[in-house]
């Protein structure tokens, strides 16, 4: 195995484990919004790592362009979709869960 292949295997392994962690996040977090946190970002890096690993395996120009394009699309579309879902929950009146189960009240200023 060449150095590049070891790097690729490491990136793919780490990325897929991150994606597994994301899945567990969606499964164990207490409410809709916290699950979105796992969905919105856990996946993004995991995917980027796996695809970067595949990139290290080489190939012709089109493969590189396609992999980069997929990463690019995921980086644009994933947060947009996450926001769209969060917003759908917000406008349909899902109340965010807070520790202790009290009323979360109106949104605060940060640090207040």
């Amino acid at each position: 195995m060449s150095v590049l292949e070891i790097v690729a295997a490491a990136a793919i392994g780490l990325g897929s484990l991150l994606m597994l962690a994301t899945a567990f996040g969606v499964a164990v977090f207490p409410d809709f919004y916290t699950r979105l946190h796992a969905a919105g970002k856990g996946d993004t890096l995991g995917q980027a790592l796996v695809l970067a690993g595949l990139l290290c395996l080489g190939g012709d120009l089109t493969l590189v362009v396609k992999l980069v394009l997929i990463v690019f699309f995921i980086f644009i579309f994933n947060p947009t979709a996450t926001h769209a879902l969060a917003r759908a929950g917000w406008v349909s009146g899902i109340v965010p869960w807070v520790r202790g189960g009290q009323d979360p009240g109106a949104p605060r200023e940060p640090g207040a």
Partner: protein, 96 residues
Amino acid sequence: MPVALAAAVVVILLGVLVLLRRVIVGPRLLDRVVAVNVIGTKTIILLALVGYLAGRPGFFLDIALSYALINFVGTIAVLRYYEGRVRRGEPVEEEA
């Protein structure tokens, strides 16, 4: 290298399995949508990995790209369904 790729496929499929539980138990419609959306993004990566395993990466990456686009359009469609119902004051959740 095929071993690493196959291992990654198995790990990701395990994640999909965990997410399927969320799809089934909900409890809200939107929880299911979130889980399905994450499964969708995992599918993109699975397609890429399977493409390398099958020795036809270009072909499978094309499919993955198409899937990424369609997945996004689908999620936006769900958001619109929600917004429309909220705007008309209709209930958005199935009765538990």
